[in-house]
Symmetry: none
Subunit: 206 residues, 4 copies
DNA sequence: GATGAATGAGAGTTCATTCAT
DNA sequence: TATGAATGAACTCTCATTCAT
């Protein structure tokens, strides 16, 4: 799965993987600055450290690059979120720990996250659906946590809502920096969001 | 303010205003379908009902159109939000009423809202800042409401946070339709968000 | 029919016609020198006397140019052949007159004819079929003449064969110059071909 | 002669010959489908069964491949024509036999012949002249036959004309299939062409 | 001898913008 | 004011050819 679906004329699977990481890294840097549409394939090639011809040995169209980028970021975020959940799995107040870890993760991958949310919509339906599936899965992780760690039974609809709220509040930290950063550090942001989350969920932990 | 800053070679102020409304309407229709970058000025002219030459009598660059569109939408949303606040100003549980009205407004202007949030980032810094100022003002309206109607004194930081949360939950209804619509109608969405909002704010109203 | 099927973004029909004649003329000149594939659209634009952008206001793809060229040449050859037939319609030995006129016509349009036969095959099936239909019609004119002016009844199969032979002997004069021109002038070529044609058809005229 | 003039970095003469046969076979297959210009060297390498690198060990440019192909086909046609002439050399009505054999040969090598005539023009002058020399030689064979087997003395000019006509009528069977095949089988085509040829030449044989 | 990754000139095409009418 | 033909910079993508392994 993942990159596999994008054809490359180069046979060496390892090399393909390496080159694609270079492409992704370069593309994120550039998309961050000027967005997908204003970034040219030549610029991506140059930033990747090879020629335009070489770039096209590893992708077929410019859209492929966008897909690679979005897919890679979603995959990373999701993987890191999974790791966190696995680790925290037995602590008390796991909910808070995971939400905190999620917000930290977003902060850490800030640039990537911004790029991703700005550009997924430029993917054509098929690729977009594929990528958004991962978002669905992340929200589902939050739902699963709510079911598991809440001291009472939450309805499915409410779990869906709260999970989405958490998810979006994470994005918000990436996206609305320009508005939030005057008053919040990551730490205060997490702390206050958790405060209200616990109140909303009537969880009394720490 | 607003359009005034964009130069037009046509002198008749009224005509300028009329034509620009046509342009904005046409552009929103098209941006909704294909986004700003994939829409051509020719298409906008055609959809507006006049020639490409005429289009350029009322704007100077393609970016101007984007600015016109974003500015117009923000302005509308903001104006409608102000109206709502004015109207509801004396009811008990004004908070709920306004939030509800805001969510309904977003639902009503769904297409415009999506277009706006997808494309503001394509504006160059200066125009973007100008437009985002309106977003700041909207958030401030929510903050003002919290100060005014909450039965206790909320800290500025918390007001900022909650106002942003409300604001973003509105956007969320416009943006995350693909994820939410299986389980929510506008009514249930509003109802459940308000439920959690009240719990978080420890407001016990209805 | 003809050009009509190729879309142009320019509205003025007369202008379209005029510009396309320029394009056709330029393209023939260039195709003659280097063939379709080795000629660039930029070169065609330049030779046409306008910019690359303007070229693309009158055609959509490079293939369109090839179609325009082939179609135009076939149309001309066919039209001139029809005129000749009309004019000669009552003379005795009309057959010889028409064949002679046809050979002269080929000689006159030598460059065009060579270009046409070299490049039709590069058209995609649909366009090619459309153009070749005109060749079919020309052969049919010869067949019609054989039926009408031969002093005996020729079978359909034989009419088909002889008509094709005449047609191809015309092309041959355009195509095989490199081989024929050492020994033939147009006049001697026509004279000897007609000599053998009459013998083959057992027509004794002049 | 022949391939010898095309340089190869590989020393083993036999291997060169073997590889080139592979290349020629692959190229004909591909040129038949998409023509010379639309076929890439990579495709030729793949179809030949080796890598692009290896391909370039046996040729220097893409044009070399075209030359190899054209030359090889001309050589084959010519060789087979010579064999036929040798064999039939003593029969009465040799003329008919050879012409018949020539038409059958064309039918047999139809694909190759079509490829060849479509693409020779893409060779650069020098190579083209080299290849066309073989065509000259074939026409000369027909001329020689006319001198030898006609019961009267034919002028050189007429011999040239008739030889070319025969030659072109052969090509015609390869090239104008789309027009001829509704009414002719190879057999009827040969039979009717011979019928008219004999009448034209006033040969009364069978 | 064989391989295939790398190269980059160059091709076709688009589209924001201008300006004469 | 309105029009739309003209422009050309800029973009994506291809492919013949090379060369280190």
């Amino acid at each position: 799965m993942t990159n596999k679906q994008i054809l490359s004329s180069v046979k060496d699977r390892q090399l393909v993987e390496k080159r694609r990481q270079q492409i992704i890294k370069a593309a994120i840097t550039l998309f961050k600055q000027k967005g997908f549409h204003r970034t040219t394939t030549r610029e991506i090639a140059k930033q990747s450290g090879f020629s335009i011809g070489t770039l096209y040995e590893y992708i077929r169209t410019k859209e492929d690059i966008l897909f690679l980028v979005c897919d890679s970021i979603y995959e990373q975020v999701k993987r890191r979120l999974e790791e966190v959940i696995q680790l925290q799995a037995s602590t008390e107040d796991t909910l808070s720990h995971v939400v905190r870890a999620y917000f930290e993760l977003i902060d850490d991958m800030q640039d990537e996250v911004v790029v991703m949310y700005q550009e997924v919509k430029s993917l054509k339906k098929e690729s977009r659906d594929y990528v958004l599936q991962k978002e669905r899965e992340m929200v589902d992780m939050f739902k699963a946590m709510l079911y598991k760690y809440l001291p009472y039974k939450i309805s499915e609809v409410d779990a869906e809502l709260v999970a989405n709220n958490i998810f979006v509040q994470g994005q918000m930290w990436g996206f609305r920096r320009w508005m939030l950063q005057k008053q919040f550090t990551l730490e205060t942001y997490i702390e206050r969001q958790l405060y209200y989350l616990r109140k909303a969920l009537a969880v009394k932990v720490p």
